[in-house]
């Protein structure tokens, strides 16, 4: 048994999602290798080689791979699959983009968003926006899986695997990268942050969102999130969205401010260790999942919270 993990890179650096996906791979069992795809990705491959329990790291580099184009990544992975029984990718937007292509090319099912590895062929995944959990068993020769990183503990450091170059494939064919707008932030990345402060539609404007949510997040060293309602209203950028259709987070502490707690939103944060809700409506559904609820207008509660934090 051998399992291939496809590394997740954030601005060229190896992200923690990789370590978490290695844990899921180790739960399947057998040898675990990591494939790093990117441009100038040698340092990320060296970092991957230090993850505990990894047999070897494969490195494929090209411009198209650096832009994460789905066709280009598929072209690298599919030929490698003759040596593996399973391939696991973190369920980031990039992972979701290319992983099903690999399954289609291998003529096997795609097992999306796995949150638990029961055994080498049995997996648990959320369906219906997390309102149900489906346990599926695969008897196929190759398993192509995306893993929800927040559901797994990160594998430790301390390994010293070798790094070897592999063929960078044929590129993305006719699909061309034109450009990107990536929001630069000093704050921690939303899906990996220990604390997340999220604002909802109650903020009423983008200015208010920035004035209320961001200083509190900065005081706590937290990432900033938002409900879909706040994003749709234009109060916060798209990539702040926490929920089934946005990002799934599971921090140590999640603070929901002025968020009512639609099912959609709860699906994205209910696995947080401690949930705090601040909302002036004491009947808001968010209080049903909150460990600590404060029924208060955020306009007074947040300044008080800031001063209580010192």
């Amino acid at each position: 048994m051998a399992v291939l993990v496809i590394a997740d890179l954030n601005a060229g650096a190896l992200s923690d999602n990789t370590h978490k996906t290695v844990s899921a791979a180790q739960a399947i069992g057998g040898d675990v290798d990591i494939l790093v795809v990117g441009k100038d990705a040698k340092s990320a491959a060296d970092a991957a080689a230090k993850i505990e329990g990894v047999r070897k790291v494969l490195l494929a580099q090209s411009d198209d791979l650096g832009h994460g184009l789905a066709e280009a990544i598929e072209a690298v992975v599919v030929p490698l699959m003759s040596g593996y029984d399973a391939v696991l990718t973190p369920a980031t937007s990039q992972g979701k983009n290319f992983s099903p292509r690999i399954a289609a090319k291998l003529d096997v099912s795609h097992i999306s968003d796995v949150v638990e590895v029961v055994d080498a062929s049995t997996f648990v995944r959320p369906i219906y926006a997390g309102n149900a959990l489906e346990t599926v068993q695969s008897s196929e020769a190759k398993k192509v899986i995306t893993v929800r990183p927040t559901a797994f503990k990160a594998a430790g450091e301390g390994g010293s695997a070798s790094v070897e170059d592999v063929d960078a494939g044929a590129g993305a064919g006719p699909t061309k990268f034109v450009g990107e707008e990536i929001v630069k932030s000093e704050r921690p990345e939303l899906t990996g942050a220990k604390i997340v402060v999220s604002g909802g539609r109650a903020m009423g404007s983008a200015e208010e969102f920035q004035k209320v949510i961001e200083p509190l997040a900065d005081k706590l060293g937290a990432a900033v999130g938002a409900s879909r309602a706040a994003v749709d209203a234009g109060y916060a950028p798209n990539d702040y969205q926490v929920g089934q259709t946005g990002k799934v987070v599971a921090p140590e502490l999640y603070i929901a401010i002025g968020i009512s707690g639609a099912i959609q939103h709860l699906a994205g944060m209910k696995d947080s260790k401690v949930i705090v809700a601040i909302n002036k409506d004491g009947d808001a559904p968010i209080f049903q999942v909150a460990d600590y609820g404060l029924v208060a207008d955020y306009k007074t509660a947040v300044p008080e919270l800031m001063s209580a934090l010192g």
């Binding site: 937007s93 096997v108 795609h110 999306s112 990002k247 209910k270 609820g293 404060l294 209580a308």
Partner: protein
């Protein structure tokens, strides 16, 4: 230019799904069903392309039970020109759906496919990517903006941390993300007109594709419930609890 829009009939997004007590699935008996919200966005985008004069024909296709005709009539009422139902009572996995769609595309030869990025029942987010791989057509998933100029599509995609723009020659598979557009409500006159638009029904068996499930569903269970917590009176109490009781500050 022709655009094909696959649509799926799913539980209405306002309905809270309930797991059956025997853990064999989600109870769909007597539950309101609607078009998958991401499919609605795809239909809207296709209809807008027609209104802009970029495409001349919008064909909606659904793979599902006889009742999926209602979903197709909704697409027709929104502005699709005709519809195809590939009828089956089985619940198909994404790979099987992609294979059947490929067969429909081989017959229809559209220049563009616009479809939802995922269905809100299975939440697989896989069919569009699989279809692109099977056809060998370029893939533009999670689109928040789509422009067609000549024989080229320029697509802005939602990625972690921001947006990415790619371009590809037609034919292309585009999967719609939430912010691509806001779908219209069909007007009553358009709902009436939709009843007269052509809707062909085909038996899935006529395609000769193996659509048997590959995965065995062992069980479908309720997610663990979070216990309700406590209410605190003041922000100062909250900070004290987080520091001393929860130990997260």
């Amino acid at each position: 230019m022709k655009v094909l829009v696959p649509v799926k009939r799913v539980i209405d997004y306002n309905v809270k799904p309930r797991v059956k007590s025997d853990e064999t699935g989600v109870d769909l008996a007597n539950v309101k069903m609607s078009m998958n919200p991401f499919c609605e966005i795809a239909v809207e985008e296709a209809v807008r392309l027609k209104e802009k004069g970029v495409v001349t024909e919008v064909v909606a296709v659904s793979i599902g039970p006889a009742q999926a005709q209602e979903t197709l009539r909704t697409a027709l009422a929104m502005g699709a020109d005709r519809a195809i139902l590939v009828q089956t009572d089985a619940d198909l996995e994404p790979l099987a759906v992609a294979k059947v769609l490929k067969a429909v595309i081989d017959e229809e030869s559209p220049n563009l496919v616009v479809m939802g990025k995922q269905a809100i029942d299975g939440d697989n987010n896989a069919t569009g990517q699989m279809l692109s791989a099977l056809l060998g057509w370029p893939q533009a998933s999670f689109a928040s903006k789509l422009e067609i100029a000549g024989d080229k599509a320029t697509v802005t995609r939602e990625v972690d941390g921001g947006l990415q723009t790619i371009e590809a020659p037609l034919p292309v598979i585009v999967t719609a993300d939430l912010r691509l557009n806001e779908p219209r409500y069909a007007s009553l006159p358009n709902i009436m007109k939709a009843k007269k638009k052509p809707l062909d029904t085909k038996d899935i068996a006529s395609y000769g594709i193996d659509t048997a499930p590959r995965l065995k569903v062992v069980k479908v269970s309720e997610p663990p419930k979070r216990g309700g917590g406590i209410k605190v009176e003041t922000a100062a109490d909250l900070v004290a609890k987080l520091k001393n009781e929860a130990g997260v500050l």
